[in-house]
């Protein structure tokens, strides 16, 4: 009846809704950009206030330290290789710390995950408390636990092992429980139908399904834990971290350089190895999966 109105009503309505949505989206974007800018401003002003040196001076002297230690390493000439060999044993200690505590954390996380999976445990109280326990284990930074245990047990690798194990158990437990909850329940039902007990159902119904995923998470964690055990060495837990901290105090440039070099090489090697094995475990062998594998958009998802 109206010749100017060429668009039907319902289309017009959709158009309006779309416009409204777009406006809302734009507002949200501006709002979040505004918040980010505000926080940045606050952050920079706080940092400028409480930093010992200023930003500008820091930038200009950024290369001083690396240049210093590298030139010292260069001057030491051929004996630099001797230094690298000298520090291999402490490196192995650090790796041992990481591997051992990852294993303990893996076992702990497995237990946590089974007792906090809704499809395996029917008692909601148990699930609730196991989850809270897991949260607590995860929330404590390794350093805090390690420092407390260092005070209680004296300087040794043990506090670091305990600290990393506790944190790893909490962190892995959370990831594991998600994997366990997403399990296919048909296999459990099958086992139940032949009269398998609960522990049998878990062993033969759940574990084979999730084991590759669990292992891949654990490898990821191992990589993080190697870094963590180095850092804990810094506060007195032994291993290569402690050697590095001593060398820094004594200002042995060549030694610092050697330690950093083997540290970087090790971390990179473990990174690649874990990537490779994760690729094998998850099946997509040719491409590494990156950190949060489960939320990466795969083509098949």
């Amino acid at each position: 009846m109206n010749s100017t109105k060429s668009i039907p009503d319902h289309i017009q309505k959709i158009d309006n809704d779309l416009l409204k949505l777009e406006r809302a989206k734009r507002n949200y974007s501006f709002l979040s950009i505004g918040i980010v800018i505000l926080v940045c401003y606050l952050g920079i002003s706080v940092s400028e206030n409480s930093n010992a040196g200023s930003f500008a001076r820091g930038i200009s002297s950024f290369f001083d330290y690396p240049v210093d230690i590298i030139s010292e390493a260069y001057q030491s000439g051929f004996s630099f290789y001797g230094l690298i060999i000298k520090y291999i044993p402490v490196l192995i200690e650090t790796i041992n710390m990481a591997v051992f505590s990852t294993t303990v954390g893996f076992i702990g996380g497995l237990i946590f995950s089974i007792f906090s999976a809704r499809n395996l445990i029917k008692n909601p109280t148990v699930i609730f408390w196991v989850r809270r326990l897991m949260d607590v284990c995860r929330a404590f930074p390794e350093l805090v636990i390690a420092l407390l245990f260092l005070y209680l047990m004296g300087k040794s690798a043990l506090p670091a092992v305990i600290a990393i194990s506790i944190h790893t158990a909490g962190a892995l437990g959370k990831l594991f429980s998600e994997a366990v909850e997403n399990c296919d329940m048909k296999q459990i039902e099958g086992l139940e139908s032949v009269g398998a007990k609960w522990i049998m159902r878990v062993r033969f119904g759940i574990i084979p399904q999730v084991f590759p995923i669990l292992l891949s998470y654990t490898l990821l964690r191992l990589e993080i834990n190697v870094r963590a055990s180095t850092i804990l060495g810094f506060v007195g837990a032994g291993g290569i971290g402690e050697i590095l901290s001593k060398n820094i105090q004594w200002k042995y440039g060549a030694d610092i350089c050697a330690v950093i070099l083997i540290l970087v090489l090790t971390i990179t090697a473990i990174d690649y190895l874990s990537r490779y094995f994760r690729g094998i475990l998850i099946g997509d062998g040719k491409k590494g999966l990156g950190f949060g594998a489960k939320i990466l958009p795969g083509k098949n998802e």
């Binding site: 926080v39 952050g43 940092s47 409480s50 820091g58 939320i295 990466l296």
Partner: protein, 466 residues
């Protein structure tokens, strides 16, 4: 029946021989791997000294730490020489926290005698003689569960001893420890007496964190939190210079014992380190990720360079980065910010470049078909696909960087990590250690919840990742 079943079993075996062979091969492999793992585990167990866990455990320190976390102690310190001038009744032995008014549990009950009463009814009388310091002695009585009355004295060799036990030190009850120069008496968990030739020190523990809200040097000493807060609404000022609300704020933040203002500022620094570090990593890593993805950048050289840059940034751990930045910027948030930013530019960049390579090319082609140029193709064909991953990953990193910032802080960059380390290294202020731990853990949990909430808010509307 059995005659039939055996050939059947054999037949099944013959027909499916590959299944059985694979299974037994797999079982063998698993057995070998399992043995190797167990052997290594045992080796690491002993080489790391995990078996010595009981030896290394220091129960005394542990109980001291546990006690100090939930209780505070009052010190009563009385030197035998010049007693009248040198007597100190303080909180936690801190001279700045000396009681101006003698508390009711300590009284001068006689000319040369002080009596300290414990919460459980136990009493200690300390006698001093200004003319003859070595004649000072103490009597301990009325402790529940302790029938005997013990008297502590100093002998001619200036060694402390328990009267009646001079020749049979080994028969002293377990709570009295006599060493050459000191008597250490702990009749209950909440009481401790240290008796030496020069002084007697009595520690009287009580539950709770004392002066948590207001310290005892300010005008609000003695007020409870709610008592003080209710003063906001009453007209009369407690001090002339400022309003009650401001006074409460000032007294709270400048609490000498707990240093709330300082601790919270340190906490803010830590959060800023994590936030700014992650933000910089996001802003730098995101565009670089495009340069490293093969479906965006055709130049293999550029891709290779950017990828090696990512590996380099990631491989040098944030520990090493923070050492380098500590030299450049000095202790402070910049060190933490840049250490986090450098490491995470590598990780986020690598992750995002992989995400970009995993995107569907249909969307991009669709945009291309409308005549859009390269930039627009990426903007509307690629970014909407990877944005949810990018945001959720960044939020994961923000969360874990909060923990990382605490650690960098303890290594010298400042913030709550350094406060924590400082309080722990005093070896006495464990209530502060506990306070900082509570702060750290609640911030980590809050960040965790915040990022989960934001992730849910931001990601669900895209309808891709539940």
């Amino acid at each position: 029946m059995s005659d039939v079943s055996i050939p059947l079993r054999d037949r099944i075996y013959q027909d499916n021989i590959h299944v059985f062979e694979t299974a037994s091969k797999k079982a063998k492999q698993t057995g070998i791997i399992f043995t190797v793992v167990v052997l290594y585990f045992l080796f690491a167990f002993f080489s790391l000294g995990v078996d010595k866990i009981a030896e290394k455990w220091n129960p005394e320190r542990a109980s001291f730490l546990a006690l100090d976390i939930y209780a505070h102690k009052d010190h009563f310190k009385m030197p035998w020489k010049k007693t009248e001038n040198k007597l100190q009744i303080t909180l936690e032995g801190n001279l700045r926290q000396e009681y101006k008014v003698t508390p009711e549990w300590a009284e001068k009950s006689d000319d040369n005698k002080w009596t300290v009463t414990f919460k459980n009814g136990g009493k200690v009388d300390a006698y001093y003689f200004p003319d003859n310091p070595l004649a000072g002695y103490a009597v301990m009585y009325d402790f529940p569960g302790v029938e005997e009355i013990f008297t502590f004295r100093i002998n001619e060799d200036k060694r402390p001893y328990v009267e009646g036990y001079e020749d049979r030190v080994e028969e002293l009850p377990g709570f009295i420890r006599q060493t050459k120069n000191k008597l250490e008496v702990r009749p209950s968990l909440f009481s401790r007496i240290q008796f030496t030739k020069s002084k007697i020190e009595i520690h009287r523990f009580s539950r709770g964190w004392k002066y948590f809200w207001f310290d005892n040097n300010g005008p609000l000493d003695g007020y409870s939190l709610f008592g003080a807060l209710s003063k906001i609404f009453s007209g009369d000022r407690i001090v002339e210079e400022m309003s009650n609300a401001k006074l409460i704020w000032v007294e709270f933040t400048e609490n000498e014992l707990w240093q709330h203002g300082k601790a919270w500022y340190a906490l803010l620094e830590t959060i800023i380190m994590a936030f700014m570090g992650t933000l910089i990593a996001m802003l730098v890593g995101f565009p670089l990720a495009f340069l490293a993805a093969y479906n965006i950048t055709p130049l293999a050289g550029v891709r290779f360079a950017v990828r090696r840059l990512f590996d380099f940034l990631r491989g040098i751990d944030f520990l090493v980065w923070s050492l380098i930045f500590l030299r450049a910027f000095g202790p402070g948030p910049f060190t933490g910010i840049f250490a986090i930013a450098f490491t995470d530019t590598g990780t986020l960049g690598k992750l995002m470049s992989e995400a970009i390579e995993n995107t569907e090319k249909n969307q991009k082609e669709g945009v291309e078909s409308t005549g859009a140029n390269k930039t627009l193709q990426n903007r509307f064909g690629i970014i909407p696909q990877i944005l949810p991953v990018f945001i959720s990953q960044s939020l994961y990193y923000l969360e874990s960087n909060t923990r990382g910032a605490v650690i960098i802080g303890a290594m010298g960059a400042g913030g709550i990590g350094l406060q924590f380390l400082g309080a722990l290294q005093t070896g006495t202020d464990f209530e502060n250690v506990a306070y900082y731990t509570v702060l750290v853990v609640s911030v980590v949990i809050a960040m965790d919840m915040f990022s989960a909430w934001l992730r849910k808010k931001l990601i669900v509307p895209f309808g891709q990742f539940g």
